[in-house]
Symmetry: C2
Subunit: 279 residues, 2 copies
């Protein structure tokens, strides 16, 4: 087994605003090749998942901190598959995925943070946003779904909101799954060819695809303005799906280890409840 | 590998009210022995889970039906572990567990179905209630948390509510994890002995334990009055944990196969989108 070291820190968006999506190659594999390294990647993933499992148990038992993972990415970037592979190992009792689609009427007639606020993870649990409040500075910006001056204010609203969550014990990490326009083309074609994937294709997807550059600009602005010390953005190359899952899992592992959740003390004096005296 | 056939229909509570918990042995293993049959049970479970995975994909794609699993059981009956093992294989994107604890103030000042209603699964998804509205005829009955005449009415309220959900496309199945009082004693002692389990022990658990017979009576009444054709109850022997998971998984599989979800037709004329013409 060839040893290799994997680095995701290079994908962290700095908090000083100096960042361009163009700096990160969506096909980056850090020199790894699936044929040669794929098996070790899978083995490492399995080991990481075993540790994630243990840390989640502690997080749940402790119930003092929460973890929120925000996932964004263009259509076909693999958000759903990443959730399936990266999130599935967690105990579903204390892990909840929320898929944000087009806002309902009740959501449209309120501020843009209202609907996400009601889905933030409770202490002891892990929340995953599959799309998020960032749509309100992405699709909303590209398609002019809100007045431009209001959209401008939303970056601050987001930072303030995330700061408040962080102050209350929620660790936030945000991941953009990064792909190229060419890669999306391949994936869309694949969807159209496979009978069991065709239902995922919507003609509207092509309208968004035509605005690709505008989307990348909107992402760039959001990444530059909303990567903070308390809620950093990571731009994860997503075209090597076999590697992407390991990168995200490793990122989550390091965060959970840093959160260092502990089994709580018993809520009673063990001397009062000797096991042999229970009837 | 010894072949065996497994039957869970014997655990189904009839809809005519003729049922007694005493009829079902919480240690029943249908003649199977862990040492001899455990491996085949694990292998069958893996095969069933692969099929559940595929059916869930179809359910999600179709988005016309939902599945609700209600899990009830005394403390230490293994609800949490069952969720971990039986539910974990589902794609978390379309599966949500809701843990119902003591009601909050906002919940207490409303009818007892209000809080569960807001957590019913959306079409295309699977919902799991870890405890449920049945607590309002179990603990509420045993500890007198509501006027007796109101509790009497709740059985009908529950049946009406579940019928309404069923009429709107939600398939409901309810599982009681059945254990004996002696078995609970073993499990409680184990909790007290293990440092990583002790946090799960609360002195209140012993108070409920003292009311064991009252709880069994309350369960009996709920099972007799609320097992319906559209929302049947199953009393699953839960002391053989290795077998319990297979029984529940098999039950879910048969239900999902009966629901028979289908990948939807494409929302467009494929002739309009030849893959080679997409750019």
């Amino acid at each position: 087994m060839a040893g290799f070291s994997l680095d995701y820190s290079r994908y962290r968006v700095p908090t000083d605003g100096k960042f361009s999506l163009g700096d990160i190659d969506p096909g980056d594999s850090q020199g790894l090749v699936k044929e040669r390294d794929g098996q070790e990647v899978e083995e490492r993933l399995a080991r990481i998942q075993a540790r994630l499992d243990e840390l989640q148990q502690r997080l749940f038992a402790e119930s003092k901190q929460a973890l929120l993972l925000v996932l964004q990415g263009m259509d076909t970037s693999g958000k759903d598959n990443a959730i399936r592979r990266v999130i599935a190992p967690f105990n579903p009792m204390a892990c909840r995925v929320t898929n944000f689609k087009s806002p309902s009427h009740a959501e449209q007639v309120r501020d843009f943070l209202w609907r996400v606020h009601s889905h933030v993870p409770r202490k002891g649990s892990i929340g995953v946003f599959n799309r998020s409040h960032y749509e309100d500075v992405l699709i909303a910006r590209v398609h002019g779904l809100a007045p431009p001056d209001l959209i401008e204010k939303r970056y601050d609203h987001i930072n303030d909101f995330e700061k408040m969550l962080a102050d209350h014990g929620t660790r936030i990490v945000k991941v953009m799954l990064h792909i190229s326009k060419d890669y999306q083309l391949e994936r869309l074609k694949r969807r159209l060819k496979r009978a069991d994937k065709r239902w995922k294709f919507f003609p509207e997807d092509l309208r968004d695809r035509k605005r690709w550059d505008d989307y990348m600009e909107a992402y760039n602005i959001a990444l530059q303005r909303c990567s903070t010390t308390y809620a950093p953005w990571y731009v994860i190359p997503a075209q090597n799906r076999w590697l992407r899952n390991l990168l995200i899992s490793r990122l989550l592992l390091d965060i959970l280890e840093d959160m260092d959740p502990q089994f709580p003390e018993a809520q009673f004096d063990p001397a009062d409840y000797p096991p042999e005296k229970i009837t």
